[in-house]
Structure formats: structure tokens, C-alpha cells
Amino acid sequence: MIVAERKPLAEIRGFVDDYRRILILGCGTCATVCLAGGEAEVKVVAAGLRISFLRDEKEVEILEDCVTRQCEPEFVADLPRKVQDEGVGAVVSLGCGVGVNFLAQTLETVPVFPGVNTEFFGAAVEPGVWLEMCAGCGNCILHLTGGICPIARCSKSILNGPCGGSRDGKCEINPEVECGWALIVERMKKLGTLDRLAEILPPRDWSTSHHGGPRKVIHPEAAPAAIGQGKAEQ
């Protein structure tokens, strides 16, 4: 899932200082699961802002809401009307960056501010701890590396690792960071496929990643009409 972290309250307050009716909008999907922007966090941010404005003797109304997903039209379809009816001057999205983008397009004239920092695609390795495991690079090579991604989990994203900086399973950049290639070697040893690392992986085609420009995925059955409108990813 997408992992995010809440921005400090003071930073959020700085975004909305000039507004008098502010909607704090949570997201019921990834941001909820990673405890960054669900219903509970909406309450926390709203309460924090109320206290903060109150201290400065500013009269500000903070509204709260949380939608199932901020990144799909059906879940935010009512939002423009609601914002208009209630005279909302600004929205703080506690969804990931996708949510902020999508709301910004949906709401046209109302500013949308990010309430979280969107970090990465990761897994909850223990309660409250998430680890980056996928870089979304558009051409999965996990079949070659024992299911552990060198792009996301090696600090240098090298394909023929480990580099000389691997030490006791840790990366040279920081003893807190696991060496992705040490994990790959361990895993492939267990699978009995370590010898496959003898193959030299050639320079890869990064055009499938963000390096190739903003990407689009078109499902041929679900959106046949969209094919040909832009570059379709296979």
C-alpha cells in the first residue's frame, strides 16, 4: 500500500492561516491503514487546528470528513457541491499525494493542501512500522531476485549486487538500513537458486519508470475507448 506520515501541525496551520472555513478530509484506504490520514487522524488534526487558531484568537470553523478513497471519482463526486454549500475556503487532504492531486482537479477553484507526506509503497512489517518494498518502476524483475526488489531495497538500486558496502546484512548508508542484496542472497540461498545470480543483468530500460515521463495504464477491456488517446502501458 501507499505509506504516508502526517505533516507537523504547525506546517499545516501555515497553509491555512488565511482561511476561515477549512475542511479536513481523510481517506479511508491507504492513509487510514498507515495511521496517517483516516477518520481518527482527521479528528486529531481538526482538534489541533482549532486549539491553534483559538490561541491566536482567530475565529475559524474546522469541518471534518472522510471519504472511502480520494483517488476515485465516485467517492468524491459530491465534494464540489458540499464545499460550495458549506462555504469551505480551503481543504486539507489527509490522503496521499494522489488524493491531493485528484481533489485539486475535482475542486477547481478551492485550494487543497497536503496534510501528510507521501512516503512510499510498503508493507506493515510490524504494528506501526512500514518498510519500502516497491519502487513502482513499471517492469517487475522480482522473478530474478527471489521476490525481493533491488530497485526499492538497495540504496543504489543496482541490479548486480551487492556492492562492497554490504556489512553484516546492513547497508553502508546506515546500520539501521537492511542491505537489499544481502536479503536477496539469503533468500536465494534458501530457495537453492543462488547460482542464478551468476547471470549479468544488463543495463535496464528505465523508460517504464517515472524516468520515461508520467505514466498511464489503460485496461483494454475496462476502457477500450481510452486506447489510443495516450500512450498505453502494456
Binding site: C163, A182, L197, I200, W206
Partner: protein, 339 residues
């Protein structure tokens, strides 16, 4: 000959090769490089010029290479994958060859978070590149030189005559992957290998045995890395913080004794440690030379290049072999560099 470089001639002739590292300055002062070059002239077959080593901005490797060439030294240009994508790498390689550089060492490069291990600020906020890794870089150079082909597939009319080098960390973790990774570098096209600094010669010899069993020592020239220890603190730091470097207690004890024997005289303690460090370096060179399959040494005296001439001399490696200039001698076999 692949490159016609002096280093290649030395290795081909079967001499025990010596390379020495030169670190460029953190400014544009050419005289720093030329003075180091003058100090080191004649004591090695080729001189590595580091490429923003420990992720600190320094005078470029290519420019520094040219500066030492003007002083009559042969450079090994180091090139990291951290700072350049495949376009920049290939254009710099072509440019370096046009300027007469004939040896290149392909390395991943320390991560930008390093900043000289915290002693300098560095640029930890920089974006790294790592478009290709060091093994892929070796194969790109091999493609330019032997196939006349850029990585993207476009032809290279005049092929760059380069001796291609790679680094190897024989005692890095996970240790069982290290010989295999060396094999990949050899198969990608590495003509020579310069290893991470070796202090534990027994463990290095064991890794070399595995390498010999794979026949790799016949396919590439392995130069054992010698990092001249200058102080007990440096040895401790390298043992604890430099990946792939382990310092045996016996060496640590010797350095500690050298330091303590000076009592409270700090200057004397420093002199004692430097003398002991130089002695250790000489012994390491001699021990590495005894390891079957080792074809030379690569000496690094970090910010202490002045110690190297005496170390090389004491180790019995002087004078260095010389060859007639290309075109006037009988050593050059006249092969097309691309063949």
C-alpha cells in the same frame, strides 16, 4: 594490446604491478595534483585518480588525469556510477580517450550520504544516478572498445582503447557471493581488478583460493589493495566502519604499542604510528605478493601520498619496469586496439 597503456604492458610482461592512488583536491588548484605527481613519479606503473571519493566534490577525475599525464605519469581514471547516467558516462569515456587516458576503473561509488564518513558535509541531499551499476559499466566500456557499439546500439567508429578495471571487495558481506561477483566483473570484461584494502591476508588468501579454483586469476589481473595505516584511530575506524575491511588484532596491537611507547609525547606518538604503519604496509605488500594469483598491488595512502615512495622502495618494488615508447619499440604487438 587492448589499450597500449603502461599498466597493460607491465601486466602482459608478467611484472608484479604497482598502482598508487592520488586524491584530487576539493578546489581548482592544479598545483596540488602536479605536486603529488612529482612526488610519486616513477614509483608506480599507473596512478588511480579518484572520482569524488567518499561522495565529496573534488576536482574531476578526467581533469586530474590530464594534469598528471602532463607530469609524465600514467593515470587510471576512476569512474563512479553515482554521478552520471549512461549518456554522461559514455561521453566522458570518449572524451577521456581523446585526451589520451588509457585505463579506467569502474566502480559504483560510495552513496551520497557518506560525505567523507561525516568528517565533511558532502552533499547528502543530492540525487544519485546509478542508472547502471559497476558491472554494467564494465560491460558498456567493453562494448565501446571491443564491439564498437554504444550501450544504446549506435556505432562507435573510433573505438576507445581502454584497459578496463573493476573493484573487488574480497571480504565483504555476504562473503559467499564475493567470488561470484568477481566472476561477473570478469565476464563483463574487466581486464584488471583492484581490491578493497586487505589487512587480513589469511582470509584474503582463502578467497583467492576460491577465485583460483574458478580460474578467474588467469582471466583478469588481480591487484591486492593496500591501505597504508597512519594511526591506531584510522585502523580502528576502518575495522569498525568500512565495509569489507577487517583488521586482525595483531596489527591493532602493534599500532597501539607504537602509540603508547611514546608516552605523553603526542608528536612522537604520531611519528611512531606513522613509522609502524609504513612497516605494516610493506609487510602487507610482501604477504599479498606471496598469495598465488595476485598480480600486483594497489596502494592507497589517503591524504598521505608522501609515504608511498619509501614503502614501495622498502618493499623491493623499485625501479619500475620501463618500455620503449609506442612505435619505436618492439613490445607493442601492433594489434588493433579494438581487436
Amino acid at each position: 594490446m587492448k589499450s597500449g597503456s603502461n599498466l597493460e604492458r607491465v601486466l602482459r610482461a608478467g611484472h608484479f604491478a604497482v598502482t598508487v592512488e592520488i586524491g584530487p583536491p576539493m578546489d581548482c588548484n592544479a598545483s596540488v595534483v602536479t605536486e603529488k605527481a612529482r612526488m610519486l613519479r616513477g614509483i608506480a606503473d599507473a596512478f588511480n585518480i579518484t572520482d569524488n571519493q567518499t561522495a565529496v566534490v573534488r576536482m574531476s577525475s578526467i581533469a586530474s588525469c590530464v594534469l598528471i599525464m602532463e607530469e609524465g605519469l600514467e593515470p587510471v581514471m576512476q569512474m563512479t556510477c553515482r554521478d552520471r547516467n549512461r549518456l554522461a558516462i559514455q561521453s566522458d569515456i570518449l572524451g577521456a580517450c581523446a585526451l589520451g587516458i588509457r585505463n579506467c576503473l569502474c566502480i559504483a561509488g560510495d552513496h551520497q550520504s557518506f560525505g567523507a564518513a561525516g568528517r565533511l558535509k558532502g552533499h547528502p541531499g543530492a540525487k544519485n544516478v546509478y542508472d547502471v551499476d559497476s558491472i554494467q559499466l564494465v560491460s558498456i566500456l567493453e562494448g565501446l572498445r571491443d564491439k564498437g557499439c554504444q550501450q544504446g546500439g549506435d556505432p562507435v567508429e573510433m573505438r576507445p582503447p581502454l584497459l578496463i578495471g573493476a573493484a573487488w571487495t574480497p571480504l565483504g558481506d555476504p562473503i559467499e557471493i564475493r567470488p561470484l561477483r568477481l566472476k561477473k566483473k570478469v565476464e563483463a570484461g574487466a581486464d584488471f581488478i583492484q581490491t578493497q584494502g586487505v589487512y587480513d591476508v589469511a582470509r584474503f588468501a582463502h578467497q583467492m583460493e576460491l577465485v583460483r579454483n574458478m580460474g578467474l586469476h588467469e582471466r583478469t589481473a588481480i591487484l591486492a589493495g593496500i591501505i597504508v595505516p597512519r594511526s591506531l584511530a584510522m585502523l580502528k575506524y576502518m575495522n569498525s566502519s568500512v565495509a569489507g575491511v577487517s583488521v586482525p588484532d595483531s596489527l591493532m596491537d602493534r599500532m597501539a604499542e607504537a602509540k603508547e611507547s611514546a608516552g605523553k609525547d603526542k608528536k612522537q606518538a604520531r611519528r611512531n604510528q606513522e613509522e609502524e604503519g609504513a612497516r605494516i604496509a610493506v609487510e602487507l605488500i610482501q604477504q599479498a605478493r606471496e598469495v598465488p594469483g595476485v598480480k600486483g598491488v594497489h596502494i592507497q595512502a589517503i591524504e598521505w601520498e608522501g609515504s608511498v615512495p619509501e614503502i614501495v622502495d622498502t618493499a623491493g618494488l623499485l625501479p619500475r619496469p620501463t618500455f620503449p615508447q609506442e612505435g619505436e619499440g618492439d613490445d607493442f604487438d601492433g594489434e588493433d586496439p579494438g581487436s
